[in-house]
Amino acid sequence: MDEDKKFVQEYEIRGWDFTRAGEASCEIKNLLKDIGVPQDIIRRVAIAAYEAEMNVVMYAQKGKMRCQIDPERIKIVLEDEGPGIDNIERAMRDGFSTATPEMREMGFGAGMGLPNMKRNSDKFYIVSDVGRGTKLEMLFEL
């Protein structure tokens, strides 16, 4: 892929900042609208990015979300400095959650975040290092 056909935007995410939580995903959604990405793909990207962003807000000290767009696909990459996930297989199950009551009061922690991300993306990769952080990569074909 030619570098000049690639667009990259990066967003900082702060842990436990519920006032701004979701802003980055909304910005990505608006960006995709502006460049004319089909509505159904925008919705899938926005939902997956939002779930991932909320996970960083709820669990990590901070993180970065990168949105990379080229003519073939959209790639969303999230890297956080957080507690990590010790059992990814278990975390991927619908309904499994380690959320605190405070997180549930904010409407999150139903154990649907990671499954929602996987369901909405065409390809989903996750690696995690306990005590250091988690990296997610989601691809959406155009």
Binding site: G22, I47, G107
Partner: protein, 127 residues
């Protein structure tokens, strides 16, 4: 069902004013958990929830929902309502509890996302 009909059926207070209530809602999703809403909401759906925070507004925007009804008389803070007004997002508040609000809307033909139930409602000639 239009948002105006939703408002009448639920005897709901309209919290935002710069909105179009002639919009049709295709289905509804009721939950206090935003991940459930993201997983189960169709574009153009109505969200029924007891969670009155900024995240409700953000979630409905992300999910392309048409409007939000807060149950048990809940209402978000004024700054959230002001933001929704600015974005022309319809927010309502009903005194009914979630189960009864859902029941009243279902009786009038507004279903969730389960295909079997949609077919059943269509078979019975409801909208």
């Amino acid at each position: 069902m239009t948002l105006e009909e939703v408002r009448e059926i639920l005897k709901a207070e309209l919290l935002t004013h710069n909105v179009n209530l002639s919009i049709e809602v295709c289905s509804a999703c009721a939950s206090d958990m935003m991940s459930d809403v993201l997983a189960l909401t169709e574009p153009g759906a109505l969200i029924i929830t007891g969670l009155a925070t900024t995240q409700t507004l953000r979630t409905m925007e992300i999910a392309d929902a048409a409007a939000v009804v807060f149950v048990r008389g809940k209402r978000p803070d004024d700054d959230v309502i002001a933001l929704a007004d600015k974005k022309e997002i319809p927010l309502m508040s009903t005194e009914f509890c979630m189960h009864d609000a859902c029941g009243l809307l279902f009786l009038r033909g507004l279903c969730g996302v389960t295909e079997q139930v949609k077919k059943l409602l269509n078979k019975n000639g409801r909208r």
